[in-house]
């Protein structure tokens, strides 16, 4: 994510908190003058379930009720239309061009994006009972696949918090990560917190390297040291971040660690490839 972003793609579905993802995507599209593209994913699991003769759904409002194919498709159409309207309104507010499409199945093929695309996706469904969320089956596809940067708009964090970038080295991947985090910090008028192990921060030339990465970007920067045995989400909570950026190849981006991170932090997560 070093070049210009031509398109912000936001993944939407009938069960997720689309509002936050659309808001984040539209704001970024406005700041970067990018095209806003909405992709509404029709859950093929839901369709398959609806085909089964004994398919039932349990809701808080109506208890147990039959889930027919017709009912499922009707609900998907309603939610798709609602998502489209919301996307259009957000695009209008931010003055960007927009488009919208509906795809079935959230496989990685269905979510393929161009190299210059910036992908925004929800990681969990709307909560049931205030807290319980079912993981989106395709968020991992979104996070793990494709050449572009993926922003997992998990939930609303501190709207005035910093953008954090987690680096472990001074390699090219770290440079791409810092560059992507910088762009998001600028886009949000936020400060940048670089989180790194103490050993890296103490390396000779680290400060110079970091200054080179920041050159030309009027962003306030803090260096935060990773503490041993302190989980990453605690750091992020203390920093009151609005977003944390990690590299797709980092240990923290492994499926289990990423799931754990997303489940514990109250901010967006940017996975940079």
């Amino acid at each position: 994510m070093t070049g210009a972003v031509a398109r912000i793609v936001v993944l939407l579905d009938a069960a997720s908190e689309n509002h936050a993802a659309i808001g984040t995507a539209a704001r970024l599209a406005g700041r970067w003058a990018a095209h806003l593209h909405g992709v509404f994913v029709e859950d093929d699991d839901l369709i398959r379930l609806a085909h089964l003769p004994f398919a039932r759904q349990v809701t808080l409002g109506a208890g147990v009720e039959a889930l027919t194919l017709r009912e499922a498709e009707h609900q998907l159409r309603v939610f798709a239309a609602r998502a489209r309207e919301e996307l259009a309104a957000a695009a209008q507010r931010h003055g960007v061009a927009w488009s919208f499409e509906i795809v079935r199945d959230g496989s990685s093929d269905g979510l393929s994006a161009a190299p210059d695309d910036f992908l925004v996706a929800c990681t969990a469904t709307r909560p049931i009972g205030g807290h319980f969320r079912v993981e989106c089956r395709w968020w991992w596809n979104a996070a793990a696949s494709g050449p572009s940067a993926r922003l997992l708009a998990h939930r609303e964090g501190d709207p005035y918090g910093a953008v954090a970038a987690l680096i472990h080295d001074r390699d090219a991947a770290a440079e791409r990560l810092v560059a992507a985090a910088l762009r998001l910090a600028e886009a949000n008028d936020a400060a940048l917190a670089v989180i790194c192990p103490p050993a890296l921060a103490q390396q000779v030339g680290f400060k110079t390297w970091l200054d080179q990465q920041l050159a030309g970007h009027p962003v306030a920067v803090d260096i935060e040291l990773l503490r041993e045995r302190a989980p990453l989400h605690r750091h992020i909570a203390e920093l009151r971040c609005r977003l944390v950026a990690i590299h797709a190849e980092a240990e923290e981006a492994s499926p289990d660690r990423l799931r754990e991170l997303i489940a514990t932090v109250a901010c967006d997560v940017l996975v940079v490839r």
């Binding site: 859950d43 089964l52 039932r56 349990v58």
Partner: protein, 803 residues
């Protein structure tokens, strides 16, 4: 007092035509030497009544101050009330505060004077401090940690319920799916929900197992889902309790301090308790509420709208001080010059917010009754009765002993919209209505409540006896007004001239008018003339010039009528003699000016049936008093000439060239003189004008406006040329009322004009004709006998013809 030397039938000496203020009565050179006087003189009766009413604290002892306009009713009442109020304690402050249990019915608070504003300021400070302190309290790690614990408990519960179910289902190959509306369970293979074909392809045993497991899981899911509302309720309650605890701790010390300041006021303490409870229940209002501009979904709110929203959130903690008696001394004395319904009992105003009209207790406005509560309220009775619904509202407040603020629509049960119903405020007020006697008598006669609510009438006199003491006191009143109005000092002659004017206003040489409005105007105008002339003090010349100017400004119609008399368009004879014709005198009042108007009265007689026809009445231009006068003179004729013979005459009387209404009996003597002249055929001297009423015995009685009448005829004679034979014949009982213009008095002194009193008809007729009464009576008797004989002959002829 009339001069004892005045005798009927003899021209009055000039000294009796105008009672001057002698220098001996005014022992000073300039008004500035005189001490201040009470605002009014000669109003002892009214003052006593007001003072008595002020002492009476029982219900209904309100006052109606009745008297003529300009008699100083307002000044006297206000002075007396202020004197009394100064000895009484300051009234309470009254506030309205939110009723947290029912905001539609705001509560009243009664605080010692000056403490209302203090409470309002303290509440404002409290809220400002809480808006800082409470967010800080909710930002503290302690609160965050406790909240996290509660959230975690909820999360654990949820995870245990749903997560446990999900794990157990997963172990059996069943997926938990989030549908758009809820949750569903489905058999899965390779991480995906099975197709119907794949499911059908399963061995029957496995299908049955799936169906059994699905049924079990679904039952479990239902059970968990049923618990969700309870979990959420408990979680919310736990959060509220935490918020209450956190708030309570932050609020307690501040509220404690505030309670200490009002420990002796239970109502305030009760209010503060309610405030504390409300803050604890609604602490979220004190916490930052700005949504993320990009996430709010709508256009960003501008600063003004945001401030308005902020204002709305905390308005309920404000204190609306509707009556603030802080810094005041004594009980309030309030004069409400526009006593409409709302100005009396207060009102609830509205604000336009986002296209709607809203209101709350902060928009309650006090009325005059609130401001006067614990003291005195002065109202103009006529304005009260004319101003929409003010009178019923005042009566209701006095009867119920409380002020209830409601709109006119509510009071008349015309409104069905919900509005505020502020708690009524107990009323303890003494009301003084100031109005005309007519209004007082009308209310007393027609309003049943009036006598109950206004038990005291303070009756203001319009005149005071012109004694030496009163004259000097009047001079002090003039001096007081001169000082109050910042006028130049008046010298002794000027003061004397003003006092003479007061006597003329009273229409009585022995009385002084208590109507100070006209006097104040005269003083101001004389002062201006002195200023124009560059004088440092005001003299009699300026006073006279001011009076002349007043007349000149108002006398256009009078001058026009005089002019038409001179041009003989209106025929008034001032010389010569005529039978059955006499100059009568009437008074016309137009605006500020009253003037005398000479009128030619004529009489015609012929044989008839004993009727005296009042032509004015026949054409409905004569009023009842005039008709009465004509009937009285008919009675006189019958008494004197009809006892020994039938009055076989027909007489007619008319005001010549009179085209408007005529009323009053002041011309009855003149009409009788015209009639006597017509009957006796004795001519009347046209150089005289006559005024006076007569009774059936021929005694002349007093009339009103004698000065204006004399001056009116004098002006006509002067235009025609004063001959020395001209003059006015007036009732002797009116001599004491003479306060004639200086030019009239001067003409009399020079023998060019005469004013002659008369006591009886006979005396008057002799003056008018120079013929002794005996001669006249004989002529009339002979004429009547002739009429009677002709009538008898006619009757006989008619009787014989018919036989």
């Amino acid at each position: 007092m009339a001069d004892p030397t005045a005798q009927g039938g003899i021209p009055l000496p000039a000294a009796l035509l105008r009672r001057r203020c002698s220098p001996e009565e005014l022992p000073f050179q300039l008004s500035s030497e005189l001490a201040d006087a009470p605002a009014m003189i000669g109003q002892d009766r009214a003052a006593e009544a007001v003072t008595f009413a002020l002492r009476m604290r029982h219900k209904g002892y309100n006052v109606f101050a009745l008297g003529p306009a300009g008699a100083g009713r307002h000044s006297l009442v206000e002075d007396l009330l202020k004197q009394r109020a100064a000895t009484e304690s300051v009234s309470s402050d009254w506030c309205y505060v939110n009723n947290f249990a029912d905001p539609q019915r705001p509560h009243r608070l009664d605080l010692p004077a000056g403490q209302g504003a203090g409470l309002a300021a303290a509440m404002k400070r409290l809220i400002e401090e809480l808006r800082v302190a409470l967010p800080a309290a909710f930002e503290r790690d302690e609160y965050r940690a406790r909240r996290e614990v509660l959230d975690q408990q909820m999360k654990v519960r949820s995870e245990e319920g749903f997560g446990g179910l999900q794990q157990r289902a997963d172990a059996k190959g069943i997926a938990l799916i989030r549908t758009p509306m809820g949750l569903a369970l489905a058999p899965k293979r390779d991480g995906k929900v099975m197709n119907p074909e794949d499911f059908e392809a399963l061995p029957a045993e496995e299908r049955q197992r799936f169906e059994h497991d699905l049924q079990e899981a679904q039952t479990e899911l239902e059970a968990v889902m049923r618990q969700v509302p309870q979990w959420e309720r408990e979680h919310r309650e736990a959060l509220r309790a935490l918020a209450r605890d956190t708030t309570g701790f932050a609020v307690a010390s501040m509220m404690g301090e505030l309670r200490g300041s009002y420990a002796d006021l239970p109502d305030v303490i009760e209010y503060l308790d309610a405030v504390e409870r409300d803050i604890k229940e609604n602490v979220e209002d004190f916490l930052p509420q700005t949504p993320h501009p990009a996430e709010s979904g709508g256009p960003p709110m501008n600063a003004a709208a945001q401030a308005a929203m902020e204002d709305m959130r905390f308005r309920r903690y404000q204190v609306n001080v509707i009556v603030d008696n802080g810094g005041k001394k004594g009980a309030p004395v309030i004069y409400e010059d526009n006593p409409t319904y709302q100005n009396l009992i207060g009102r609830v105003e509205h604000l336009a917010r986002f296209g709607a009209l809203i209101t709350d207790f902060n928009l309650i406005q006090a009325g005059a009754l609130h401001r006067a509560n614990g003291g005195y309220l002065i109202l103009d009775a006529e304005r009260l009765l004319v101003g929409g619904y003010g009178w019923p509202a005042l009566k209701r407040a006095l009867q119920s002993g409380e002020v209830r603020i409601e709109s006119i629509e509510q009071a008349l049960s015309l409104a069905t919209t919900v509005s505020l119903q502020p708690q009524p405020i107990p009323l303890d007020v003494k009301v003084v209505l100031v109005g005309s006697p007519m209004l007082y008598y009308l209310l007393a006669a027609n309003d049943e409540d009036f006598a109950e609510l206004f038990k005291i009438a303070a009756d203001f006199d319009d005149r005071v006896a012109r004694t030496g003491e009163a004259t000097l006191l009047y001079a002090r009143v003039i001096a007081t007004i001169v000082r109050r109005e910042h006028l130049r000092a008046f010298d002794r002659d000027a003061v004397g001239r003003v006092i003479e004017r007061a006597a003329r206003l009273a229409g009585d040489a022995d009385r002084l008018s208590t109507s100070l409005r006209a006097i104040v105007e005269l003083l101001q105008e004389a002062d201006q003339l002195a200023a124009d002339a560059g004088k440092e003090t005001v003299g009699a010349a300026e006073v006279q010039a001011a009076l002349d100017a007043q007349v000149r400004r108002a006398d256009r119609i009078y001058r026009r009528m005089q002019e038409e008399i001179t041009r003989r368009t209106i025929r008034i004879e001032t010389d010569g003699e005529a039978v059955g014709q006499i100059n009568g005198l009437s008074v016309i009042s137009l605006g500020a000016l009253s003037f005398g108007n000479p009128t030619r009265i004529t009489a015609q007689v012929r044989m008839g049936r004993g009727e005296v026809v009042d032509i004015e009445r026949e054409v409905q231009l004569g009023g009842p008093l005039h008709s009465k006068g004509v009937l009285i003179l008919t009675g006189f004729l019958g008494g004197r000439f009809g006892t020994g013979r039938p009055l076989s005459l027909h007489a007619s009387l008319v005001f010549e060239q009179s085209y408007g209404g005529v009323d009053g009996d002041s011309a009855s003597a003149a009409e009788l003189f015209a009639l006597l002249s017509a009957l006796s055929e004795v001519p009347i001297r046209q150089s005289f004008a006559v005024t006076g009423s007569v009774d059936q015995l021929g005694v002349i009685q007093a009339i009103g406006g004698v000065n204006e009448k004399i001056e009116g005829f004098f002006d006509v004679c002067r235009q025609a040329g004063l001959t020395g034979r001209q003059g006015c014949i007036i009732p002797a009982s009116n001599v004491k009322h003479l306060m004639l213009r200086a030019d009239v008095v001067e003409a009399v002194e020079q023998g060019k004009f005469r004013v002659i009193p008369m006591e009886t008809i006979d005396q008057g007729f002799e003056l008018l004709t120079g013929v002794p009464t005996k001669t006249t009576d004989d002529k009339i008797a002979a004429r009547l006998d002739e009429f009677a004989a002709r009538a008898a002959a006619l009757l006989r002829a008619q009787t014989g013809a018919s036989a």
